[in-house]
Subunit: 199 residues, 2 copies
């Protein structure tokens, strides 16, 4: 034995976290061992509380402590615009910018034939039901710009064609602050296609 | 609000860990949110268990679940050799190599006048008492090769002079696997001084 049993177990648990290797797990466990019990137990309590309190919003599938979530329950948000994203973290990224005042729909995944994830495995049925019931004016497809995000957007575009609502896709282009030199060819081509007249 | 309250609190707790920034803390918290409750609660339980079970060995100050620790309590270890280190993690580093069969003494710090840490703040009195009581043959100073580790080793050398025991310092030299090209001048000079005849 090198580490006492309980410390070895904590290292093992830290190692299960994403991006945490053995060395880091050891460092974190030694830190937990070193700080006052009160401090360390706050971390344990916070983990337990998240598992206790966080649930899914029944309207948009976003994580929340109350149902519906703070966004779906906010009367100032524009229910006529539904922004479709892959994951909760995308909602957080968009909310951080403050640039969108509509509501969200989290698919909890994206279509990926290679991984065996079809349309029936993500919350597309749920989205269609919601669109039928709430009759929004616009659905904004904000899935990622990778192959799987594109496939999901394409699938939804076809599905929503003829429903009589505007379907839009978030813009492709140069990341703000970057130079053309470092952008890949497809990004540059898309940025050119998507150009706007300066008024 | 962007994150639900309990998730925001967990992110905050993760951020307190060493080397964990905001982005990583967010990623870890989202992971905890995603895994089954059973999995996540194992982490919480492991943290609590470490705080519950880990204590200090009354002989050597190493961390342990029983007192004395597994090393001090092992009859096969050579009590005539005490290796003095700064921290528990140094014991772990040495144990990993399996190259030392004596016992340890963890100082729980090093002398650092700049940080206001004097000999009285680390377990030097404890070491002297232990040496008086157990009369070892050799004390090996394995504090770090930085200024503070050196100062601590120097202080102990002077203190132990005339007690009639061998006091040794772990060797300086090239790290195994490295080339001279990348070693600093002092390391090379010390490696030269410490050269050994090949038999």
């Amino acid at each position: 034995m090198i580490y006492p049993e309980s410390l070895a177990r904590l290292i093992e648990e830290f190692e299960k976290l994403p991006g945490i290797g053995q060395k880091t797990a050891e460092r974190l466990a030694m830190h937990v061992n070193k700080v006052p019990a009160e401090e360390a137990l706050k971390l344990a309590a916070a983990v337990a509380e998240v598992k206790n309190k966080i649930r899914q919003c029944s309207v948009c599938n976003n994580i929340t402590e109350q149902d519906p979530c703070a966004i779906c329950g906010d009367p100032s948000r524009d229910r006529a615009k539904i922004c479709v994203v892959e994951e909760t973290k995308d909602v957080i990224a968009l909310e951080r910018t403050g640039s969108f005042k509509g509501v969200y729909h989290v698919l909890l995944g994206k279509i990926s034939p290679l991984k065996g994830i079809g349309p029936e495995h993500i919350r597309i049925d749920h989205l269609l039901r919601r669109i039928r019931e709430t009759e929004p004016k616009e659905v904004i497809l904000a899935t990622g710009a990778d192959i799987e995000g594109e496939a999901t957007a394409l699938y939804l575009t076809r599905l929503l064609k003829g429903v009589g609502i505007t379907v839009s896709r978030i813009a492709y282009g140069l990341p703000v602050g970057s130079s053309l030199e470092y952008a890949n060819d497809i990004t540059i081509a898309r940025a050119m296609e998507g150009r706007k007249e300066i008024s």
